[in-house]
C-alpha cells in the first residue's frame, strides 16, 4: 500500500492558468452556454493549483449527468463511472491508493437520488475524499426533470404544474450523516468558491462542497429566471454567507441559503483508522493465525 498524501502547497505560487489543468483537445466542452458547471470546474482547478497538487496524483471520479461529464475535461486520472455510484468507486480507489487525491464530481440527482445511500454512508464513514456536488436543481442531461433539490413550485418536464415535493438541503444532510467537512458556495463568488474547495481538499476526512450552479437552458428558461448572468446574480442574492450567522442568530431572511464553510470537525478519518486497525491485526495475529 502506498503512503498517504501530504500536502505541501504550491511553493512557487505561479499565476493560475486553467489551461494547464484541462485537456485542451476536448475544448470547447459540451456544456450548454452559460452553464455554471464550467465556473465550478475552474474554481476546483484553481484550488488544486494553489495547493500544488500534482496532476498525476489527482484522481477525479464522476457520475452520470452534466456534472459527471466534467471529469473528461480535467487533465488528471479521470474516471467517469455509473449513475449515482462515484462515491462508491472513489471509496475503493481511495482505500487502496491513499497516495492519491481523490475528488468526486457529482450532480444533485446523481448524489442525492440514485446515489443517496452511497452519499450518506460515505459521509458516515468519513474516508478522505473530496466530493463536489454541482446543484443545478434539475436533471439537465435527460431534458429537465425534477430532481431532489428542485425548489418547490418550480416547473420541470415532470412537474408541469410546479414541483410539490419538498427539496433536500444537501449540506444539512451531509452534516447530519457525519461528514467531516461541509461547505456551500455560489458560482458568482469564484475566489470564495475556490477557497471553500481548497479547504475541502485540505481536510483530512470526507469533505462535501455543494456548488449552487445555474442551468439556464433547461431549468431557467422554463421558470422565467432569465439568462445566465441573471441566474447567477439571483443565486448570489439568495445566499447568506456563514460569517453572518455569527452575528445574526435567527435568520432575518428565512429563505436564504447559508454559504461558506458550514461545518468542519475532527472525526477520525476512516482510511487512517483502518490502516491502524490492520497494523494491530497484523502484529497480534502473526503468532496465532488460525488454520482454516
Amino acid at each position: 500500500m502506498n503512503d498517504p498524501i501530504v500536502l505541501e502547497g504550491n511553493a512557487a505560487v505561479e499565476e493560475f492558468d486553467v489551461r494547464k489543468y484541462i485537456r485542451l483537445q476536448m475544448m470547447p466542452h459540451f456544456l450548454c452556454p452559460g452553464c455554471g458547471h464550467g465556473i465550478a470546474l475552474r474554481a476546483l482547478l484553481w484550488a488544486v493549483h494553489e495547493l500544488g497538487i500534482d496532476k498525476d496524483r489527482l484522481a477525479v471520479v464522476s457520475g452520470i449527468g452534466c456534472a459527471g461529464r466534467l471529469s473528461a475535461y480535467i487533465d488528471a486520472n479521470t474516471f467517469h463511472v455509473t449513475h449515482g455510484r462515484p462515491l462508491a468507486f472513489a471509496s475503493g480507489l481511495a482505500l487502496v491508493r491513499p497516495d492519491l487525491h481523490v475528488v468526486v464530481i457529482t450532480g444533485d440527482g446523481d448524489c442525492l437520488a440514485i446515489g443517496g445511500n452511497h452519499f450518506i454512508h460515505t459521509c458516515r464513514r468519513n474516508l478522505k475524499l473530496t466530493c463536489l456536488m454541482l446543484n443545478n436543481e434539475v436533471y439537465g442531461m435527460t431534458g429537465g426533470q425534477v430532481s431532489p433539490t428542485t425548489s418547490e413550485t418550480r416547473i420541470t418536464t415532470t412537474t408541469q404544474l410546479g414541483n410539490a415535493e419538498p427539496h433536500f438541503d444537501a449540506c444539512a444532510l451531509a452534516a447530519a450523516a457525519g461528514a467531516g467537512f461541509v461547505g456551500r458556495e455560489v458560482t458568482h463568488h469564484v475566489p470564495k468558491l475556490k477557497d471553500v474547495m481548497r479547504a475541502a481538499l485540505e481536510h483530512p476526512g470526507f469533505a462535501f462542497v455543494e456548488v449552487m450552479s445555474d442551468c439556464t437552458e433547461i431549468f431557467g428558461r422554463k421558470n422565467d429566471m432569465g439568462s445566465s448572468p441573471e441566474m447567477i446574480l439571483r443565486q448570489k442574492s439568495e445566499i447568506r454567507p456563514s460569517a453572518y450567522r455569527d452575528t445574526v442568530e435567527t435568520p432575518f431572511r428565512p429563505n436564504t441559503l447559508p454559504t461558506g464553510v458550514l461545518m468542519c470537525n475532527e472525526r477520525p478519518e476512516y482510511g487512517a483508522a483502518y490502516r491502524q486497525y490492520a497494523q494491530t491485526v497484523k502484529s497480534a495475529g502473526d503468532g496465532k493465525q488460525k488454520r482454516g
Binding site: P28, H29, L31, H188, V190, S228, P229
Partner: protein
C-alpha cells in the same frame, strides 16, 4: 454620598476644567469611521463631565453611517449649555479616530486656539477606489501629517492604532486617543480611569487602561519635544501606485455567447460582436479585475496583467 462630595469637590474645578482658554461652554468634536468607537469616546467624556456636575449636551450622527461610514459626535459641556451642536469654527478640541475624517472636520476647529488630536490610521472608503484598475491612485488625502500640523494651532498626529496593536488589542486605539484628549482637560486622572472602566467591555478593562495611560504619556512627551512629523503611511500610499497594463485574451472558438462576461463586467467594457463572440470594447476602461475570466464557464477568457515597466 461620595458622589455628592466628589461633585462638590470637582465643581471647584469646573471653571477651569475646560480646555486651556477656559471659554464656556467647552466644545469637543469627536469624529471617525463607523466601528472605531467614536460614540464610546463621547459617552466617556459626557459621563465624566456629568459626574463633575457640569451640564453636557452630546449629539451624534451615526445612523446612516453604519460600519465603515463617517461618524461624528458633538460634546459640549459647561455650567450652562444651550445649543446641542457646535457652531462652525467653535470647536475647541477636534479628536479624530481616522486621518481623513480628521481632515474633513478640520475647518470646524477654532482657528487660533483649537487643538487637533488625530490618529494617523487610514481607512480608505470604497468610493475612494472609483478607478478599479490595479495600482490606480486612490482618491484619498495626500497631505502628510507634517503639512497638516503646520496649519493648525496645536496638533498631534498619533499613531494610536499601532500603539494599541502593540498593547495587544488594535481596537483600543480610541482609548489611546482618550488618553491624549485627557491632557487637554483638567479632570482628575482617577476620574477618567473610573469612567473609562465603566464603558469598555469588562474583559478589556486592563488593556484599555494601559492604552489610556500610553496615549496620555505620548502626548505629554510630544509636548516636551518637537511634534512628530514622520509619516509612516504616507510613503506607502504613494508607493502603491504601480500602473499596469491589461490584456484580455478571448478564445473565440470556445466562446458560447452566454453573455455572462458582458452582463457581469463591473466596467461594462465587454460586448458580443456581430458573430456573438465576446470582445473587449474599451480596453481603457478595463481594470483587470478578472471577473470575466473567473465567470467564463467555457474558459474562453484570460486576463493578462503586466506591470507597465515590463511592457515598456
Amino acid at each position: 454620598m461620595s458622589l455628592a462630595s466628589e461633585v462638590a469637590e470637582s465643581s471647584q474645578h469646573s471653571g477651569g476644567a475646560a480646555a486651556r482658554g477656559s471659554r464656556e461652554p467647552v466644545n469637543v468634536l469627536i469624529v471617525g469611521v463607523g466601528g472605531q468607537g467614536v460614540i464610546m469616546v463621547s459617552k466617556v467624556l459626557a459621563s465624566l463631565c456629568q459626574a463633575h456636575g457640569l451640564q453636557v449636551k452630546q449629539s451624534e450622527v451615526h445612523g446612516m453611517a453604519k460600519r465603515g461610514g463617517s461618524v461624528f459626535s458633538h460634546v459640549r459641556f459647561g455650567k450652562q449649555v444651550w445649543s446641542p451642536t457646535i457652531p462652525k469654527g467653535d470647536v475647541d478640541i477636534l479628536l479624530a479616530l481616522e486621518w481623513a475624517e480628521g481632515l474633513r472636520w478640520l475647518p470646524q476647529l477654532r482657528a487660533e486656539t483649537g487643538i487637533f488630536i488625530c490618529d494617523t490610521k487610514r481607512i480608505v472608503p470604497p468610493f475612494a477606489c472609483l478607478n478599479r484598475r490595479q495600482g490606480a491612485p486612490m482618491r484619498y488625502s495626500r497631505e502628510t501629517p507634517a503639512e497638516v500640523i503646520a496649519h493648525v494651532a496645536e496638533a498631534y498626529a498619533v499613531d494610536a492604532t499601532r500603539m494599541a496593536d502593540e498593547l495587544g488589542n488594535e481596537r483600543a486605539a480610541n482609548t489611546v486617543l482618550v488618553g491624549a484628549l485627557s491632557t487637554a482637560m483638567e479632570f482628575p486622572l482617577a476620574d477618567w480611569e473610573r469612567v473609562l472602566a465603566e464603558f469598555v467591555p469588562r474583559k478589556t478593562v486592563g488593556v484599555n487602561l494601559e492604552a489610556f495611560r500610553l496615549g496620555r504619556s505620548w502626548i505629554e512627551e510630544a509636548r516636551r519635544t518637537a511634534p512628530d512629523t514622520s509619516d509612516p503611511q504616507g510613503q506607502g500610499l504613494a508607493a502603491a501606485v504601480v500602473p499596469s497594463t491589461v490584456r484580455v485574451e478571448i478564445e473565440a472558438q470556445w466562446c458560447k455567447s452566454c453573455d455572462i462576461c458582458v452582463k457581469l463586467c463591473p466596467e461594462r467594457c465587454l460586448r458580443l460582436n456581430s458573430e456573438r463572440i465576446a470582445e473587449l470594447t474599451d480596453p481603457a476602461k478595463c481594470t483587470g479585475c478578472r471577473l470575466c475570466e473567473w465567470l467564463c464557464p467555457d474558459f474562453a477568457i484570460r486576463v493578462h496583467l503586466q506591470p507597465a515597466a515590463a511592457v515598456a
